[in-house]
């Protein structure tokens, strides 16, 4: 087996990974860095983010206001020390991206422009029209090319973390083009692989969002934190699940039921005004808006289409000029994928799985409990997002915690000896396992198992949950795990074997699904995005705590709890629109 050594490996080439890699190179140019990604970095899912990235920049705004919006938006499950670090470092990180050339939208006098966003009491969301993630990712990738300590392993799929002597010392990965299995050894590994929306059937997430980093850490004994909190974005296109950005509502769009009525006024989100009001109505937080949709559907006031129930997102009154200037991608997506022009027609939308608040348990430096292993971005849970992330906080999170993880890993690597030869025995065992998997000759098709998993998750772990539903999904996931041992692959070849990758991704998804379900079962309260119809109230006595899911060799994960860090904002009521 080919073995290569670097000081630090970054697994994942999206926003967090590239920011981390650059941070390492700038902290210590003598460190060698490998960025390993299963896709070319510019294909990473950061590319799909639309609306913007939050950071305080106006004099009328304050770091405390951003922190309070974030903490209350997260229903007090955010660690407030993490939130304080986040809001403090956000402006500098955003400016750095400006200095690297990100094409931020501007005001007439040339300053960076900001727009309102859901759950934010001030305008602080930086944007590059409505392709913010695309521009951030390409700016980061193009900028990263100037750092000579970086080596890119494009289209390499990581299958295992190499852990020996109680520390992470590298990974095993498949080079997709050749099927060659390699060991990449290092003093530190940073996971930046993003989320796992593909656990669900209806998601904004790209096909590549399969929870790889979460599963890698979980299998190495690292706990997954707050996995029960799944964000439904209130406005996805039916059938495709393509995201229609919250910026449509920030610019003044309305959500209407079948009677053309702005129904959010019935759900304690304020009164309808012609112009957008911050922290009210259509600019409420995503969890509350998605929940309101379900209630509205139960009242029979949604619109029935071939692809399920929808409501209407109306931006016609914004006018063609504003739409083309600030929401051109929305217009392009609607025309291309929905065959309608939002300048003249209403957009059918429904809630869609969008983001995982939970992830690999880390501290403020991105360090996991496993020495040598770091994580940042959606794969990680610091936690600044609590039980419900505010729109436009996640792109900023990539930068702030990507950079922190990079710097922390650089410091750690500088004082850590190289990987021990013993890890290679593990690498060889993994190579043999992969060889066996490639010849899998049971009777189950990967796509069938994946579809059954996705349907079970939609059924039992959707916007509203209860014990029987979660239990039946848990049983289904258990059944799928067993059937996953009997997969049949049509493709036995080494060269770019995407079926083998899909098989490995499926086992990652099942690992993550199991953690989500068990965490959801044991959190017998309703908070943020986790709504239990059988436990409808928030219970701070028992559950002002992060769940930690630990993988067990047999059966469901063990769930432990970690108190939430409260610094300055004691738990209170979430108030929107009043």
């Amino acid at each position: 087996m080919e073995t290569t050594s670097y000081d630090i490996l970054v697994v994942g080439g999206g926003g967090a990974g590239l920011r981390a890699a650059i941070a390492i190179a700038e902290t210590d140019p003598n460190l060698s860095i490998a960025v390993i990604s299963k896709v070319y970095p510019m294909r990473s899912h950061t590319v799909s983010a639309e609306g913007g990235a939050a950071a305080v920049i106006r004099s009328e705004d304050s770091l405390d206001a951003h922190a309070y919006d974030t903490v209350s938006g997260g229903d007090w499950l955010c660690d407030q020390d993490a939130v304080e670090v986040f809001v403090r470092e956000a402006p500098e990180e955003m400016l750095r991206l400006e200095h690297w050339g990100c094409p931020w939208s501007r005001t007439a006098d040339g300053h960076v422009a900001v727009r309102p966003f859901g759950g934010m009491k001030n305008e602080r969301t930086w944007f590059a029209a409505d392709k913010t993630g695309f521009h951030m990712l390409h700016t980061l990738y193009q900028t990263s090319l100037k750092y000579s300590p970086l080596t890119f392993f494009d289209e390499w799929f990581v299958t295992e973390l190499l852990v020996e002597d109680g520390r992470c010392q590298g990974v095993v990965a498949i080079e997709l083009a050749t099927g060659k299995v390699g060991a990449l050894l290092a003093k530190a590994v940073i996971l930046t692989t993003g989320g796992c929306g593909k656990v669900f059937a209806f998601t904004t997430n790209a096909n590549i969002k399969t929870g790889d980093g979460m599963a890698l850490a979980y299998r190495a004994g690292v706990p997954l934190k707050d996995m029960e909190f799944v964000q439904y974005h209130p406005t996805g296109l039916p059938f495709t699940g393509i995201l229609i950005t919250e910026a449509t509502r920030a610019e003044g769009g309305w959500l209407l039921n079948q009677d053309g009525y702005r129904y959010l006024q019935d759900y304690d989100l304020g009164k309808p005004e012609p112009k957008p009001v911050l922290r009210a109505m259509e600019l409420g937080p995503r969890d509350r808006l998605s929940q309101a949709f379900v209630k509205e559907m139960e009242k029979g006031r949604t619109i029935t289409t071939a692809y399920g129930e929808v409501v209407h997102l109306d931006i016609r009154h914004l006018g063609e000029k504003l739409i083309d200037a600030k929401l051109p991608f929305v217009r392009e997506l609607c025309r291309k994928y929905e065959n309608l022009d939002p300048v003249h027609e209403m957009i059918p939308v429904r809630p869609v799985v969008h983001y995982m608040m939970g992830g690999v348990h880390t501290d403020l430096e991105g360090a996991t409990p496993l020495p040598g292993l770091y994580a940042a971005g959606e794969v990680a849970c610091v936690s600044i997002n609590g039980s419900n992330r505010l729109g436009s906080n996640s792109l900023t999170e990539l930068l702030v915690f990507g950079a922190r993880a990079g710097k922390a890993a650089a410091r750690y690597a500088a004082e850590t000896p190289p990987a021990v030869p013993g890890v290679l025995a593990r690498a060889y065992a993994e190579e043999r396992r992969l060889e066996t998997l490639r010849r899998a000759s049971g009777g189950e098709r990967v796509a069938v198992l994946r579809t059954e998993m996705q349907q079970a998750m939609e059924k039992g772990a959707g916007i509203y949950r209860d014990e029987p539903g979660l239990r039946s999904t848990a049983a289904k996931i258990g059944e799928l795990r067993v059937r996953c041992q009997r997969v049949w692959l049509d493709d036995r070849s080494l060269t770019f074997n995407t079926e083998l990758v899909a098989f490995l991704e499926l086992s990652n998804l099942l690992d993550v699904a199991e953690a989500m379900i068990q965490s959801g079962l044991e959190r017998r309260e309703s908070r943020g995005a986790h709504q239990r119809t059988d436990h409808p109230r928030r219970d701070d006595e028992r559950f002002l705590a992060h769940s930690l899911a630990y993988r067990q060799d047999e059966g469901a994960p063990r769930i432990a709890y970690l108190p939430v860090t409260i610094t300055r904002w004691p738990p209170g009521e979430r108030v929107y629109g009043r």
């Binding site: 896709v39 294909r43 400016l95 400006e98 193009q142 890119f152 790209a206 393509i242 079926e499």
Partner: protein, 250 residues
């Protein structure tokens, strides 16, 4: 999902180097649904008919740039092209032309990555302003100057369409030149002369006949042909200056 009984055939060019030295056509019958893109047809094949078909895809919303292929002989983003618009079929799907094929519909992009890096696609400045001094000011008009060139999703359709890249592999190519131009035209950048030096060393740029195939296939309206043309004009002017005024700065 609405039921349909209509189908359409996809003829896919398969190349499996471990089995055969030459590519072969394979035909698949997929449901013809109103909302399905060519990519949905391929996913149907992969999931239900033949798991051994290999291709790339990720976002399915036309922004990640992964799923470019030849569809009926044209470079096409398959997640943004309806099956129904290509009826009655059969629809021929091949790997992007102009690139070495790794497997089935997967082509080798490493040459582009090297070329992209060669044009220094990052902000080059003589002086770095400290972050504490805030952002570089840039008016909406200044932003508009380079913004179209920043919209490239690296989908490689333009390379596939480019008659020069096919003949002259040294050619930096449309997308990389457009991205170089994206930085050259950015009011915050001072690197235009440096990039011009790099580009004028390559012969390919002079071979471009400005037929504009690259711009015609671009799914994002980037217009690389215009970028190349501006480059040639800029490079010619710089060359004349260096001949006529060798003592002058560029």
């Amino acid at each position: 999902m609405p039921e349909t009984t209509a189908t359409i055939s996809l003829e896919v060019l398969r190349y499996r180097p471990e089995e055969a030295a030459e590519p072969v056509w394979q035909s698949y019958e997929v449901p013809l649904r109103r909302d399905w893109m060519v990519l949905d047809g391929l996913n149907h094949i992969k999931d239900s008919l033949d798991g051994s078909l290999s291709y790339r895809w990720a976002c399915r919303m036309g922004v990640c740039g992964s799923c470019g292929m030849m569809v009926n002989g044209k470079p096409t983003l398959t997640c943004a092209t309806y099956l129904a618009g290509l009826g009655p079929g059969p629809i021929r799907v091949e790997p992007l032309s102009g690139f070495p094929v790794i497997r089935d519909l997967v082509v080798d992009l490493r040459d582009f990555i090297d070329k992209l890096k060669s044009v220094k696609p990052w902000l080059l400045r003589g002086d770095e302003k400290p972050l504490a001094d805030g952002e570089y000011l840039q008016t909406p008009d200044e932003l508009a100057e380079y913004k179209p060139y920043s919209m490239c999703i690296n989908c490689m359709l333009c390379y596939s369409a480019c008659p020069i890249y096919a003949l002259e592999p040294e050619f930096v190519g449309p997308a990389a030149i457009a991205l170089a131009q994206r930085y050259n035209l950015d009011s915050r950048d001072d690197g235009a002369a440096e990039r011009l030096d790099i580009l004028s060393r390559h012969d390919g740029i002079w071979a471009c006949t400005f037929v504009g195939e690259c711009s015609a296939v671009c799914p994002k309206g980037v217009d690389p042909a215009a970028a190349i043309q501006r480059y040639k004009v800029g490079a010619t002017a710089a060359w004349w200056r260096s001949v006529l005024m060798p003592w002058g700065t560029r």
